[in-house]
């Protein structure tokens, strides 16, 4: 068999560049970052835009996507990629844009306004990378084994009629136990 490419984060280089272009970002953020309450509220709102409650399967909250993300941001490999710093940085871009466009914080906007703000930041390279990275973690919350904290009650798998392999990873035998 030809080994397939296990697609991972697509934009690491650009993200690193964006961080370099915004000095102070990675340096000021502790490695074991925990999101502030405001950042959590903001990311929760963004995740609900990216993966909304629309009658078609679970939404981001059903999948426990925010808690999954917070867990993933403690993973040394993700820290090494600069993800926590970049995600925090993106929260301020988003709020700046919301303030500039609607003179309000992102979380206070209507769904339609939030979508417009997301579209505006997606037109910049760094902003696009930021949304792309949040979606990367959302797909992990959707499709990885529930042992990792997302995909609660296999809601993602059941919606997409996905049949997992067996044996499934268990506590004590997750990838983190082999690193």
């Amino acid at each position: 068999m030809l080994a397939s490419i296990t697609a991972c984060k697509p934009v690491i280089l650009q993200r690193a560049t964006a961080i370099q272009q915004n000095p102070g970002t990675s340096a000021n953020i502790p490695e074991n970052l925990v999101l502030s309450t405001a950042q959590r509220t903001l990311i929760d709102a963004v995740q609900m835009q990216l993966f909304p409650k629309d009658g078609n399967g679970p939404d981001a909250q059903d999948l426990n996507a925010l808690a999954y993300l917070e867990g993933a941001l403690q993973d040394p490999a993700n820290i090494e990629d600069g993800d926590p710093a970049f995600i925090v940085k993106g929260c301020s871009w988003l709020n700046d844009m919301a303030q500039r466009s609607f003179a309000s914080d992102f979380t206070s906007l209507t769904v339609i306004q939030q979508d417009r703000v997301l579209n505006s930041i997606a037109s910049t390279r760094a902003g696009e990378n930021w949304i792309s990275l949040l979606m990367y973690y959302l797909t992990e919350a959707l499709m990885l084994d529930p042992v990792y904290g997302g995909n609660i009650e296999q809601k993602g798998w059941r919606w997409l009629e996905h049949q997992p392999g067996f044996p499934r990873p268990t506590t004590g035998k997750t990838y983190l136990d082999f690193t």
Binding site: M1, L2, A3, S4, T6, A7, C8, P10, Q49, L50, F51, P52, D54, N56, G57, A77, D115, L118, A122, E128, I131, S132, M135, Y136, T139, E140, L142, M143, L144, D145, Y148, W159, L160, E161, H162, Q163, P164, G165, F166, P167, R168, P169, T170, K173, T174, Y175, F178, T179
Partner: protein
């Protein structure tokens, strides 16, 4: 590394094997069974059925593989403007634990054909290709191909077709693994096109054997470790038994970095770093009468190049600059047939959705191509394997966040794409394999600027391809696409590739009759030594138009017999 601090193992070994994968396992197995004292140095740890979960994160995080940060390779590839790109990569690490990459293979197994052993005399030279006949014939390897069927456990069914290779037994020792309903649809389509479909052999047990369980059809096979023991990895099929003889010691976390030679040029010992939990990467030395290298193509070349000695100024066996030369990958391509389940009746749609049993079909109607218009005469062609890609649902979902133009899609539109991809379509794949002709543009050398975590120069891998390969690959890919169309796929496409198949590398230390044009003799002994052998896929002058591992296993069993003969009886040794 200062030799004063080198720790010497006290044990005396008849044979020391470096690398525990498909090339190393058979030698350890045969020699320990025959009563010899065997040491195996493996740079990775020992993991087994208890550790192999069907967890996509294991491959996303390269668990069980060497890491690019610690042990990179430099990859030089041709660019369209005629220049070469140079990148650091970790893609060539396919499995670095006891059993090597064979733990993670899919086990699609094919033998070579007699003609593959005499490519030059059968088809003549091709300009700028270093084609050579093998110093042995198919008949020399045939008994070992048969042995692998039994010892590793190959399941299959012999179905006569125009290019079926000669066999000494009527059929496989194990019946075929369970088949997916797509196989029946495939057979019908292929026959309608006048082709000769046959079930692909698998290094997977279809029924329990010798303490190993039968396949449990987890649906997650290639790229994933096997939890049942059915997959014919070197560890599950061979090394577990070696250890039980009490005569085989497997040194895990032992990274060999130099083979020492004496003033006659013969191998005397191996220097390695002991990276065990409490050993602090201690430089260590092990002595043996026979030393065997089986580190996976480019890494075997690298080790010989990194081992200069009194008689081997440029690395062992490199008097004629043959070490690392004539490396090859598999040329070929891939294609897809995608079925829109909403267009099928419900029972057909349900059948295609099944996950667990295998597709397991191959076509070799174009193993030799006689198309005067296209190629001017009879040429060597290739194989098409019809397979399932190992599921990687998270990666698949992540890819769907971008539309055809690469633009991000989110919200309900994204969810709609996910739903339709996962529930309303099924993608069936084919893989084309043809010869990657050996050339002066495809080889391994030591990189002068980059070192691994222990300070040894890393391998630089240059992967130029021959334009002939691309022509042949395109020709066969088109045939695969036609089969997908005939099967009723709603969309179908295929592409030939020129990038290296990182998990299917071979050559670099080809065997041959003459020291000036090969690295090994016919018994896979390094030229200029009496007791240093190479038993991984490095020996192959060409890869055949198939995946290589059955041939690697078979040849390693053949060399094990040669080594036994050289050592004489165990008590005398």
């Amino acid at each position: 590394m200062a030799s004063i601090s080198t720790k010497h193992t006290q044990d005396e070994f008849d044979i020391c094997i470096i690398g525990s994968g498909a090339g190393g396992g058979p030698v350890a197995y045969e020699l320990s069974k025959a009563g010899f004292q065997v040491a195996v140095l493996e740079k990775g740890g020992w993991y087994d059925e208890q550790d192999f979960k069907k967890d996509e994160m294991l491959s996303r995080r390269k668990i069980f593989r060497s890491k690019i940060q610690n042990e990179p390779h430099i990859l030089e590839s041709p660019k369209t403007d005629g220049t070469w790109s140079s990148n650091t990569t970790g893609q060539f690490w396919g499995g670095n634990i006891v059993g090597g990459a064979s733990n993670f293979m899919s086990g699609y197994f094919h033998r070579l054909k007699p003609e593959d052993f005499r490519l030059l005399s059968e088809f003549g030279p091709i300009q700028k290709a270093n084609i050579a006949d093998w110093p042995i014939g198919y008949e020399d390897l045939e008994p070992y191909y048969t042995k692998v069927e039994q010892e590793i456990g190959i399941s299959g069914k012999v179905v006569p077709h125009p290019n079926l290779e000669p066999r000494s037994t009527a059929d496989f020792p194990f019946p075929p693994t369970a088949e997916h309903p797509i196989a029946t649809r495939f057979d019908k389509a292929a026959k309608a096109l006048g082709l000769h479909p046959f079930p692909m052999a698998r290094a997977i047990l279809s029924r329990p054997n010798d303490g190993r369980a039968a396949c449990e059809y987890s649906g997650y096979c290639g790229s994933y470790g096997c939890h049942s023991g059915a997959k014919g990895s070197s560890r599950a099929a061979l090394l577990d038994k070696c250890v039980n003889t009490g005569r085989c010691k497997i040194f895990t976390h032992a990274k060999a970095y130099k083979i020492n030679t004496d003033n006659k040029g013969n191998a005397i010992s191996v220097d390695y770093y002991d990276n065990g939990p409490n050993s602090h990467q201690a430089p260590s030395r092990i002595k043996a009468k026979i030393i065997v290298v089986a580190c996976y193509s480019m890494e075997s070349s690298r080790l010989l190049l990194s081992s200069p000695g009194q008689k081997h100024a440029d690395g062992i066996g490199n008097r004629y600059q043959q070490i690392g030369k004539n490396l090859h990958c598999c040329a070929g391509g891939t294609g897809h047939g995608i079925f829109d389940l909403s267009k099928l009746n419900s029972s057909d749609a349900a059948a295609l959705k099944i996950r667990g049993p295998f597709f397991n079909r191959a076509l070799q109607d174009w193993y030799f191509i006689d198309d005067k218009e296209k190629f001017g005469g009879r040429i060597k062609g290739g194989t098409i394997d019809f397979v399932f890609d190992p599921p990687s649902p998270t990666s698949a979902a992540n890819k769907l966040k971008r539309d055809q133009d690469g633009k991000l899609v989110w919200g309900s539109a994204f969810k709609h794409r996910l739903k339709s991809h996962f529930t309303q379509s099924r993608d069936f794949k084919f893989e084309v394999f043809c010869d990657w002709l050996p050339t002066d543009e495809c080889h391994v050398s030591l990189d002068s600027s980059k070192q691994d975590q222990w300070g040894s120069p890393v391998a630089k891998i240059k992967v130029g391809y021959h334009p002939h390969d691309l022509k042949v690959a395109k020709y066969i890919v088109d045939k695969g696409v036609a089969v997908m169309k005939q099967m009723g796929a709603h969309s179908y496409y295929g592409n030939a590739f020129t990038s290296p198949t990182a998990n299917l590398m071979a050559g670099g230390l080809r065997f041959g009759k003459h020291a000036h044009s090969s690295a090994l003799d016919a018994d896979c002994r390094v030229h200029g030594t009496d007791n240093l052998f190479v038993t991984d896929g490095s020996f192959m002058p060409n890869g055949g138009s198939v995946t290589p591992t059955w041939t690697i296993y078979a040849n390693a069993f053949r060399i094990a017999d040669k080594i036994k003969m050289q050592l004489g009886s165990p008590h005398k040794s």
